[in-house]
């Protein structure tokens, strides 16, 4: 097919051609006209007056105009002197195992003063959709040593379980504690953590680095930092770069990867910024209509596959604007992720750590990862009973606030007592307390003993016999 070949050569020829001067610069977007045919999502190199190369990607391409988004911002660019080069290839990042223990910016360039680590392969930063038939259904229980998670919202290897938090709540502490304590019982395998920071403060990044250092795992962590004072647009690429490395390590090297992404709210803000500048029709609260698909592209990259022993477990952190769980960001996240850990300001105010709200928190994969042979036989029923009882506590508390505790029936007072101890003894633990699953479950039964046996409908007679009486 000579015609086809000719066309290919023509493209190759134009690849790398440099255009001097751009038509328009608006926020992070650069508009160039009169170019050769440029591919959608192609990598763009924008060269400023000082000769620095700023990478970006093509957002829209037509015969008249190409719109490119520049990740490191457009500060200092001028219309006549800016040069633009289209590389003819999608944005690729070099990845390798040597990247562990290092610190990078959102584009995967080292910022810790060290040399660029050798890249084993170059991978498309956008990844590709995993074929559902190639996935392995996650069912390995991860022991985090945190009772409210292990007991009631179990984390499973390959799961995506976000933390819905608020400003000032200890989500970083919890994420660091999980990263430090997480283990799968009976299995020793290579474990690494990938940390992507989007628009977070320097202190937060430093906190994580120190926490990894203190627990001696820093050499197993790769950090991708796009901090609060970096250009906001870089946040759009940061999680993708981090996940590209995660995919490589998990699916090619067979490692178990925990990805912590904080703060997804900043990512979504950046997305809204670009969308607004492009004049797109907004949906809720000004966020673009494709926010769901865009978030799904990020979250769905975690999981396990049949061909490899590795896994990606992701723990995105997002701060709910104004603690509102129905805000588009937590809302759409909740529709994609396999459950959520929700923080409650009121519990935090009462000095409970971790301030995990019992009822709205949920782990969807829990059902297949607990029980006989995985955790303990009584675990599913125990968790269900604790949920049911704790949910009734809410009603009793509301009632008590109206009619006063003294007016409650003796049974309702039992429930109040149960609620209090559940929060103070079961949920509360210190920042460095690592409870194994048996301790957690025993503690759960300890709590149920505050209630009469007739109230426990969700556990079986045998379980009551064994653990309750």
């Amino acid at each position: 097919m000579p015609e086809k070949k000719k066309q290919k050569d023509y493209k190759a020829l134009l690849k790398g051609r440099e255009y001097i001067g751009v038509d328009k610069i608006d926020g992070p977007l650069v508009f160039v006209s009169g170019t050769h045919p440029v591919g959608y999502k192609e990598l763009v190199e924008c060269i400023d007056g000082g000769g620095n190369v700023r990478p970006g990607i093509v957002l829209e391409s037509s015969k008249k105009m190409v719109v490119a988004q520049i990740f490191q911002g457009t500060t200092g660019l001028t219309l006549p002197s800016t040069k633009v080069r289209f590389t003819g290839e999608p944005l690729l990042v070099p990845v390798s195992k040597q990247m562990l223990g290092r610190i990078f910016n959102g584009l995967g360039e080292p910022i810790d003063g060290g040399p660029r680590p050798p890249g084993d392969v170059e991978l498309n930063v956008n990844g590709m959709a995993i074929n559902p038939t190639a996935r392995r259904y996650p069912r390995d229980f991860i022991q985090t040593g945190i009772s409210i998670i292990d007991g009631m919202n179990t984390l499973i290897r390959g799961q995506k379980l976000p933390i819905f938090s608020g400003n000032g709540l200890p989500h970083n502490e919890l994420a660091a504690q999980i990263a430090r304590q997480a283990k799968v019982s009976g299995q020793e395998s290579e474990f690494a953590c990938i940390f992507a920071a989007m628009g977070v403060k320097h202190d937060v990044a430093r906190y994580f680095i120190r926490s990894f250092e203190e627990s001696g795992v820093l050499s197993n962590v790769a950090l991708f930092l796009s901090l609060a004072d970096d250009p906001s647009i870089e946040r759009l690429i940061t999680p993708r770069t981090a996940l590209t490395l995660a995919e490589y390590l998990a699916f090619h090297e067979g490692m178990h990867i925990l990805v912590i992404m904080t703060d997804m709210t900043n990512y979504c803000e950046a997305l809204r910024e670009v969308s607004t500048i492009r004049g797109e029709i907004p949906s809720r609260k000004g966020y673009p209509g494709y926010l769901y698909s865009d978030l799904a592209e990020i979250y769905e990259r975690s999981g396990m596959i049949k061909e490899s022993g590795g896994s990606i477990t992701s723990l995105p952190i997002l701060t709910m604007p104004n603690d509102d769980i129905s805000h588009p960001i937590p809302d759409l996240t909740g529709y994609i992720t396999e459950g959520q850990i929700v923080f409650e300001r009121e519990m935090f105010g009462r000095g409970i750590y971790p301030p995990v709200a019992g009822l709205p928190s949920l782990s969807r994969l829990m059902k297949d990862g607990i029980g006989e042979g995985m955790t303990r036989k009584d675990h599913p029923h125990l968790a269900s009973q604790l949920f049911a009882a704790y949910s009734y506590v809410r009603d009793v508390r509301n009632l008590a606030s109206v009619i006063g505790e003294e007016e409650l029936t003796p049974l309702d007072r039992n429930y109040l007592e149960f609620g209090e101890s559940f929060e103070r003894k079961f949920v509360t633990q210190t920042f460095d307390e690592n409870r194994d699953i048996d301790t957690t479950l025993e503690l759960g039964w300890e709590m149920l003993k505050l209630l009469p046996a007739e109230e426990l409908h969700r556990v079986t007679e045998e379980e009551l016999e064994e653990y309750y009486y």
Partner: protein, 589 residues
């Protein structure tokens, strides 16, 4: 190759590609874009320009790339081999794709939907010289041990059978019959194509008369859906939409299930793929995969294929309906489909209506749900398509456009309640906000087949639930102790009914599914507790005494302890209950 170049790309904006220089494009024509031949569909024509919706990632497509036209509308292949297969939104077989491209779905893969090499044992049902019309049965193929696949003449075929193949093994594209039609000879194979956006023609629409038995007590007893009916399941995240859909896919008495994972989680499809082959249908003892077709377009797969996926699914369902089967379509979730419409509409720069959704959203929703129904097919067989669509309202707010428009076009509404889900009361179907318009239509079925007093029983227990809800408002203010025993008893019965009947554990071997007979007996026990208890209290028995009856624990646990196969224990519980009341009555006589 009958393909031709219809134009060349002039602009790319995500999945929406504009082409120029188009002379003979056809609306909804299947096209291939660029050298990689990405699958697309023409959705707009204007002068020499066309707007193409591309079903694959458009990275790298540049202006000037060629657009090839296929000359046909976006269609599905219908024939033996659909059962037990998992397809993407435009009916590409995902398992085969995996063999070809591994872990990830590469772009531009061209694969037939039905296996061209597999041979099927075909038994003809018509003879040479017979006059046939479209949609009539040509022969049969045993597709899976439980599904006899009736090979139909394509709906637009009409004529005399000139020759028909002898019984034997054929591949799907071999000619098994030749038809002499008005326009000449026409070869008929085991496979046919049908455009996904066009409903398949039927002889007549029939009234709905039987319920789709789901084995879920809250549904069958309180809010039943008819075979051929439409249901919406709206609920915020974590309220159990997918769990309810999967329970229905597992236990409902439809002959065939088409499960569409539209823009949802990848792991959920994997869950179905791993779980269904090992689950047995309680009615036939065969694995559930033998009656299931999966359409998976997960949230990270291209958004435009998500838009097509529900049409692909419902077209396959209609095809089996035409063979005389009762088919249930699970669409999870229609909100993702509506959002795909919104995204594509936005990229085409159309004027938005509510919340950015295009103004034609209600039309599309209506078109989709109207493809459900109980029909007399052209094969003279009766079949039905029931559509159960999940809706994911943002923030769990049912006043948003997708929920509201869906509500207009479905006749059964299972509202999932956040409060119930938080208390882990599953299925979290709210008995106050849900409704079913099929009660009168299927009442006769209930009365003739299971329970003569169903309508009355249902009314009575619904009344208790509504009374209880009202009293709960009072309790919130003054506490239960301030109420008289008669009213506290209503609260007790409400709680008992919720715990012992409405709550159903999808992971418990016995409780995951209840036969109609079990449901009726359980309901009767609870109703007799209510009737006799109310009577006893009137005669002065204290509530404390009622609560202390030993039989209460048996009632609460009967859903777990009494297996579907042997319901005699329920009769014994019922007797024990009557005796307990008799004894109480004797004490207070």
């Amino acid at each position: 190759m009958n393909e031709r170049i219809v134009g060349e790309v002039s602009r790319i904006n995500g999945p929406v590609v504009e082409a120029g220089g188009v002379k003979d494009g056809m609306m909804f024509e299947l096209v291939k874009v660029g050298k990689e031949r990405l699958v697309g569909e023409i959705v707009k024509l204007e002068g020499s320009g066309a707007v193409i919706q591309v079903y694959e990632d458009t990275t790298g497509i540049a202006p000037g790339d060629p657009v090839y036209g296929e000359g046909i509308q976006l269609s599905v292949e219908l024939g033996p081999g659909l059962m037990g297969t998992i397809y993407d939104g435009i009916q590409r077989p995902l398992e085969k794709i995996r063999d070809m491209s591994g872990l990830y779905i590469k772009r531009g893969i061209q694969l037939p939907s039905l296996d061209r090499d597999k041979r099927w044992a075909f038994t003809p049902a018509v003879e040479k010289g017979a006059a046939v019309r479209g949609g009539e049965v040509l022969g049969t193929v045993q597709e899976t041990p439980r599904i006899v696949h009736r090979i139909l003449f394509p709906p637009n075929a009409e004529g005399t059978v000139e020759s028909v193949a002898a019984g034997g093994e054929y591949t799907v594209d071999e000619t098994v019959a030749v038809l002499r039609t008005a326009d000449g000879k026409r070869d008929i194979s085991l496979m046919q194509r049908w455009p996904i956006r066009l409903p398949r023609p039927v002889e007549a629409r029939l009234p709905l008369d039987a319920p789709l038995v789901t084995g879920q007590r809250v549904i069958d007893t309180l809010f039943p859906v008819a075979k051929g009916g439409t249901v919406a399941i709206p609920g915020g995240f974590g309220t159990g939409k997918t769990m309810t859909q999967q329970a229905l896919a597992k236990w409902s008495d439809a002959d065939i299930i088409v499960y569409i994972g539209c823009g949802e989680r990848g792991n959920e499809m994997t869950d179905v793929l791993t779980e269904f082959p090992s689950l047995k249908d309680p009615r036939t003892g065969r694995t559930l995969m033998e009656r299931t077709v999966l359409i998976a377009n997960t949230s990270n797969m291209p958004v435009s294929a998500r838009e097509a996926s529900i049409y692909t699914g419902v077209t396959i369902a209609e095809y089996y309906r035409d063979q005389g089967y009762h088919v249930a379509v699970m669409a999870d979730s229609t909100s993702r489909w509506a959002e795909a419409l919104r995204e594509l509409s936005g990229r085409m720069e159309e004027m938005p209506a509510e919340e950015g959704f295009p103004a034609y959203l209600p039309t599309r929703v209506a078109e989709f749900y109207e493809r459900a129904g109980r029909m007399m097919a052209k094969s003279k067989k009766e079949g039905s398509v029931s559509i159960i669509g999940a809706v994911s309202p943002p923030g769990g707010d049912f006043s948003e456009p997708v929920t509201q428009h869906t509500k207009r076009f479905v006749r059964c509404f299972w509202a999932l309640d956040r409060g119930l889900a938080n208390a882990r009361h599953y299925p979290a179907i709210s008995w106050l906000a849900s409704y079913s318009e099929y009660l009168s239509e299927i009442g006769a079925w209930w009365e003739n087949n299971v329970n003569a007093s169903w309508a009355k029983d249902r009314e009575e227990i619904m009344d208790v639930l509504h009374k209880e809800a009202r009293l709960q408002q009072v309790v919130k203010l003054v506490g239960p102790d301030a109420l008289p025993d008669t009213q506290r008893f209503v609260l007790d019965v409400g709680t008992l009914f919720k715990t012992a009947f409405l709550q159903q554990n999808a992971f418990d071997k016995i409780d995951m599914f209840s036969t109609m007979e079990k449901q009726v007996k359980m309901l009767h026990i609870i109703l007799s507790y209510w009737r006799r208890g109310a009577e006893a209290i009137k005669r002065g028995v204290t509530l404390v005494k009622l609560r202390k009856m030993k039989v209460n624990q048996d009632i609460i646990k009967m859903k777990y302890t009494v297996p579907n196969e042997d319901l005699s224990e329920l009769d014994r519980i019922s007797d024990r209950l009557e005796r307990s009341f008799d004894q109480l009555g004797a004490l207070y006589a």
